[in-house]
């Protein structure tokens, strides 16, 4: 029982039941210190952007751009968060995005139009996830190694398919989704997909047995096994989920760039892992939130945008990102040891 500053209203002589906590407690229980501090960082960044480049940064078009850029990596990060929470890692996400984007934009695939492109991107993502999952869950391979191998193979296959050339998308119904006309109430469709994936990811993690099993496997795989959870099947599903997210992200990238390239998704794995860790996901598994990861993505994308507006080169951006990761982990360790 935690101590309350305010005494309970009902004077039954008992401590008030915590089965139904007051709404404000529920609110703060979810918006924990970490989430609040991430929101604080994001607010500070927006302030910095607004002060240094008031006209350009706060322009609607720029904000739409930031969110659109965040969408692709954001969808990947949602899948990555699940994998990391289960104690695993998926290094192959960037390569899977690349492979899915080029497979879905070959001349043959484009003949099937919108549906063909979407379905191919998703299936390629799921296929790669299946291979990862089988190797890790049933082949006993370490996730780091299995997904590293997938990283190399998927990139190689993407290069083989494209022969290094950019595959231009000619299907109008796909390209139209990237146009300003497709925006609903000023929100780009890509951002809506990102929002939907985030909400579904949050619901799955917090409200379903799948989410519970993920946390259990990541928190203590042996205990999960002895509690009767099929740990291997759960691991397989998790890599499938990550692959699915990569497929969706590849489709978004196709819309965004109007093309498929074998260099797509370069270093996405590092950005996604970094965003999840900044968001408070424990690299050893068992703890993390979708909210935190998504805030991590938004923080990263906003920094990139502010730096670009201020004409700072990508080398400075990379250094800043590195510093943020270190700072975030140090702060988290401090808060973890005090609670």
């Amino acid at each position: 029982m935690t101590q309350h500053a305010s005494p309970p209203r009902d004077d039954t002589g008992k401590v008030p039941s915590t089965g139904q906590p007051p709404f404000w407690r529920g609110l703060f229980a979810h918006a924990d210190v970490r989430t609040l501090s991430l929101l604080g960082v994001l607010a500070a960044l927006i302030l910095v952007g607004g002060i240094t480049k008031p006209d350009e940064f706060l322009d609607t078009r720029n904000l739409q751009l930031v969110l659109t850029q965040a969408s692709v990596i954001g969808v990947v990060t949602v899948g990555m968060t699940f994998v990391i929470m289960s104690g695993g890692i998926d290094l192959s996400v960037g390569a899977i995005v690349a492979l899915a984007s080029v497979w879905a934009t070959t001349v043959a695939t484009q003949e099937y139009g919108f549906g063909g492109i979407l379905l191919t991107a998703v299936l390629v993502g799921l296929g790669c996830g299946l291979v990862n999952g089988l190797l890790i869950a049933y082949g006993g391979m370490v996730p780091f190694i299995a997904t590293l191998a997938m990283l190399a193979s998927a990139r190689g296959l993407a290069l083989q398919i494209t022969d290094g050339k950019t595959q231009i998308v000619t299907v109008d119904s796909v390209l139209d989704l990237g146009l300003r006309d497709a925006y609903v109430l000023g929100i780009p469709p890509l951002v809506m997909v990102f929002a939907v994936v985030t909400v579904i990811g949050w619901l799955v993690l917090n409200r379903t047995t799948f989410g519970r099993r993920t946390v259990a496997v990541g928190g203590n795989a042996e205990a999960a096994r002895l509690a009767g959870i099929d740990v291997r099947r759960q691991r397989l599903y998790l890599y499938l989920l990550s692959g699915l997210c990569c497929g969706i992200a590849a489709f978004l990238l196709i819309i965004l760039s109007g093309s498929g390239q074998n260099t797509n998704g370069n270093l996405y794995e590092l950005d996604a892992i970094a965003a999840a860790i900044i968001g408070g996901t424990l690299l050893t598994g068992g703890r993390g939130t979708i909210t935190g990861s998504v805030l991590g993505v938004l923080i990263f994308t906003t920094i990139t945008n502010i730096f670009a507006l201020n004409n700072l080169q990508s080398d400075v951006q990379q250094i800043a990102k590195g510093a943020i990761i270190v700072a975030a982990v140090l702060v988290q360790r401090r808060t973890a040891s005090t609670t």
Binding site: T208, R212, G219, N220, A223, G286
Partner: protein, 505 residues
Amino acid sequence: MAPEPPLLTMSGITKSFPGVRALDGVDLDVQAGEVHCLLGQNGAGKSTLIKVLAGAHQPDDGVISWRGEPVTLRSPIAAMRLGIATIYQELDLVEHLSVAENVHLGHEPTAAGFVVRRRSARASTARLLKRLGHAEIEPGRLVGELSAAQQQIVSMARALSHDVRLIVMDEPSAALDPDEVDNLFRIVGDLTADGVAVVYISHRLEEIRRIGDRVTVLKDGRAVAGGLPAKTTPTSEVVALMTGRNVEYVFPDRRTAVPEGTPVLEVRGLARDGEFEPLDLIVHPGEIVGLAGLVGSGRSEILETIYGARKPSAGQVSVDGRPLKTGSVRAAVRAGLGLAPEERKAQALLMLESVTRNVSVSSMSRFSRGGWLDRGAERGAARAATRELSLRPDNPAVPVRTLSGGNQQKAVLARWLLRGCRVLLLDEPTRGVDVGARAELYAVIRRLADEGLAVLLVSSEVPEVLGLADRVLVLREGRVVHTAPARELDEHRVLDLVMEGSPAT
């Protein structure tokens, strides 16, 4: 005893872990050149005491003096600098390094400060191994390729590579054949002749008689007898000291009628190579069957194999007459088995999670439709299950890591209660549980049995098995050596059965 101050004096050593007081004012003094034996049942505090001595644990209270001077053992390195070396039961060698590299790990002979002088390291290792009577071990071989006995020799060589004045040996004979034990005793003799003191931990009374000078008996975190003569103290006195209760355990009444009829759990010829021999046992609904035996007698392995967590090399487990798929935890859980494992934190609990989630983890399908959780129903059911076991605090929303050992165990039991399991496998259910909380746990277990659960109980605390079980199987080295109703056995008889006939006799 010698007029000079003892080599080592520990006085009033106290050490608590969350929920349990492992050491409660222990005194120990060790003279140079003697073999001082530490005796005590599992959980008596031996391991904690030697970890304090090795600098691995910091005592909460108490004074350690070395040659009359008070010292603080801040770290294992500090202890090593004084000349205290510890050979743990689980050897701490690096398998992928050579014998010589392991022996000199951390203090390699170097040239110019950093270049390892491999030849000199090998030569000195060879000298040490020869002194230990094992010149046949090649210093260049990988430690992973050696037998357990040889690895122990390497561990000892490592201890001797320092200027060691006191060696702590934790059950060194447990993994050894009789002739290897003889060699071990010869080494111990040589060491003490050189003035080195040995603190020797063993379950085997015969060994203590052979090589011990004095005995200190630990029980429930206290030294109940210090410095008894090892060779002349009567066995009955030692056993009485080890087992005599300073806290009376309260056991619930047994059922007068032993349940009969169809057994719910049936084990036929179950065996695992190298762990335990073919085993038959049955448990009726409402019956508690106890497995008594020491660490290494195969108790936990038997439970985990019945539960499907280990694959048997032979045999069959049936529930209600239906054979289970072997080596499948999920099949066992579905058939109605539940395990409360020995290592609660490592094997049962999700330490980052709330009590509710720990309790509901095995029954999630009951609170979900199409994978969607009804969290209200989950909370309600978890609350009902934890209330039924009087889990404290009465708030399943708290993190399970904040609970005491006894309440953590109740959370594990509540998990299976909620699942509606029919056979409960309990592995050391009161390990790490405060003495005061044990009686309550015993009452809970008995009540669950009275309500029709079949319980298979493993414990190294003989009184626990005798007090709780209806029927007892005594195990020694993977074999059932005796079966009897609990009321026909007493503690001395069981201890005789589990300790007699060890290789050293």
